[in-house]
């Protein structure tokens, strides 16, 4: 009898190999978060003993947890893959985008422009993403092979049906695909897999003491780029990340979970979704759908 993790692993590896076989210039979107780390490990498994046959692409907002960048660089070195960085700071400096100002300002939305520019510049025709359908309601509608038009837009009403694992990667010039091998994984599956395979993840995911502030009921990491609102104060708390994104909008979980077993127990019994603390999702009821339509991850 196969376990659910064996089936999910087999499906993900199949999808990653389809990407490598069906496209000429694929890449792997690497954020430094746990999902992209699992995806990187699956890619290694898919092609071992050959090196992963496509580069990693990091869209860098410049507002990172320092741990993420350290981890990214050591993983890329260990896997022997090429890293391509799309810099949001550069998009700001060259006037492609204008930085949000004031309380709650975030570079999250600006990433989309940098991402699209990076795709054009490198002529990527397909990018692996770590998105999962259980993360968010718009993502629940996402395909494994998701077509983006020349403007990188997603059209959720006009998606190709996917049957029996037959993925149709045909497209016109200038269009590209976003490919999601972890579509059927849940947050708990990801952690169970990390434990089973002994995969390294950044220390951010484990309980640690950090300078934080609270806003709209969420605990956020303080960093010099954050502008506090009147009445908000910085204090120290024991927290961990459930998701890792731009430091300005990634909610932290107050937690003592310091081992993988602790994390698995915590995730199995939690009453709040993983993205519940993401300020970028809370901007409106369809915030994720709107960003995805515009070309977001």
């Amino acid at each position: 009898m196969l376990t659910h993790l064996q089936e999910l692993e087999a499906e993900a590896i199949y999808v990653i190999r389809e990407l490598a076989a069906q496209f000429e210039r694929p890449g792997l979107l690497f954020s430094g978060g746990k999902d992209s780390i699992v995806m990187a490990n699956l890619a290694r498994t898919a092609f071992y003993p050959q090196a992963i046959p496509f580069p990693f692409v990091h869209i860098d907002t410049g507002h990172n947890f320092p741990e993420t960048i350290e981890f990214r660089d050591s993983l890329v070195k260990r896997l022997g893959v090429k890293l391509i960085v799309g810099s949001v700071q550069e998009s700001i400096d060259t006037g492609r985008v204008r930085e949000e100002k004031g309380i709650g300002a975030s570079r999250n939305r600006l990433q989309t422009v940098t991402l699209i520019d990076t795709i054009r510049k490198n002529k990527f025709d397909a990018l692996l993403g770590g998105g999962r359908r259980d993360e968010e309601k718009a993502r629940a509608k996402e395909r494994f092979f998701s077509l983006r038009n020349v403007f990188s837009e997603w059209d959720p009403k006009n998606q190709r049906p996917e049957l029996f694992g037959l993925y149709n990667g045909h497209k016109d010039r200038g269009e590209h695909f976003r490919v999601f091998p972890l579509s059927n994984w849940t947050e708990l599956d990801v952690w169970q897999y990390i434990k089973e395979k002994g995969i390294d993840v950044p220390s951010l995911y484990f309980s640690h003491e950090r300078e934080v502030y609270e806003r709209d009921g969420a605990v956020l990491a303080w960093s010099p780029v954050v502008q506090l609102a009147p009445g908000e104060t910085v204090k120290k708390m024991r927290v961990r990340c459930r998701t890792v994104g731009d430091i300005t909008c990634t909610g932290l979980t107050v937690s003592d979970a310091s081992t993988l077993d602790d994390i698995i127990r915590e995730v199995a019994s939690t009453h709040v979704t993983e993205r519940g603390g993401r300020a970028d999702d809370r901007r409106s009821e369809t915030a994720m759908e709107d960003r995805k339509k515009a070309g977001y991850f």
Partner: protein, 415 residues
Amino acid sequence: MELLRFITAGSVDDGKSTLIGRLLYDTKSIFDDQLQAIEEASSRNGSDEVNLALLTDGLRAEREQGITIDVAYRYFSTPKRKFIIADAPGHIEYTRNMITGASTSDAAVILIDARNGVVEQTRRHTYLAGLLGLSEVLVAVNKMDLVDFSEKVFNDIKDEYQKILEKTPQIAHVSFIPISAKNGDNVVKKSDAMPWYKGDTLLGTLENVQIRDSSASRPFRYDVQYVIRPQNDEFHDYRGYAGRVLGGSAKVGDEVEILPSRTKSRIKSINLGEEELQSVEYPLSASIQLEDDVDVSRGSLIVSAGSAPEGTRSISAVLCVLSSNGLKEGVPYFVRHGSTEVQGMVNEVTYRLDINTLEKGDPSGDLKMNDIVGADIVLSDELFCDLFTECKGTGSFILIDENTNETAAVGLIGE
């Protein structure tokens, strides 16, 4: 933990969304922030009750129009199994959506409104479940609270449903469960209102149904997706055939035949990444090395010796049209079968299925989205196929429109 993928099917007001909401809620798979978000959305839309359908209807257009656009996937687990629900909406595009959801499912939950009994849609859903090779069906007779939890109503529906099964021999096993999704009777918790029902709850049944995929017990079928050639000093002569098992199993030392070259060899090693395996089974991914230096590339099929299907340039299949542009006869399409792609065209339509009577009728007329037809297809090159009823992976294909790149139809290979 084992994985069970199932599809839910029901007519528009059978309470499918409520049932899914109930399954998720009672297994504690709905989170506080999701519940709060749909409570807020429900009250904004002027509803007093929390609309559990908003959990699955995630897109703006769906929320605005109160409809479900296409298949949504939901996840929950119990200590016994992990479940993936493919929730296919029940309006006009139903055939296409149900076929999409069913193609990756192990079982179907078919809802019947106890007040209406077996209706036309019930027959259609059951037929499609059988056509797509789902051998396990759970019939949930819903809204029992509205028929006074009557045992007679339940038994009459059971008898009526048995008649449908005469037309769907593929379905091996059916369970009947009287439920009230709204109140939760027999969904996750056993109902006190129906002491006459001695069977398991819906969730209990889902936890225990046997997963019978005929592909698992067939001869070995391995679809090569990619050739791994490290070309470094350490693995100088390594040639690994990366792919996925579409049927059966194989172990190191087994004699195999490679298609289309029809050469023979033996399995030298089986790997999953760094891990060395002694055997591999459906539906796992692996990398296989062979004893001999033979011609293998993407699209090759590695099968157990003596079991190789004949190559063919014409196939008979049941086609379901998936594209709003329809499907045209005598026009070339890309035919995607496993990792192989050839060209093919519909040569002749042999019948058209009347989805209401399930009779095979007059084949004439345009092939439009949601149509199900029998057809003969001619191919530009040989394909090595099995019957769909024997092996799903080698018994199915899609037709891709060469102009629009759309997936125009799916085919299930028959005799």
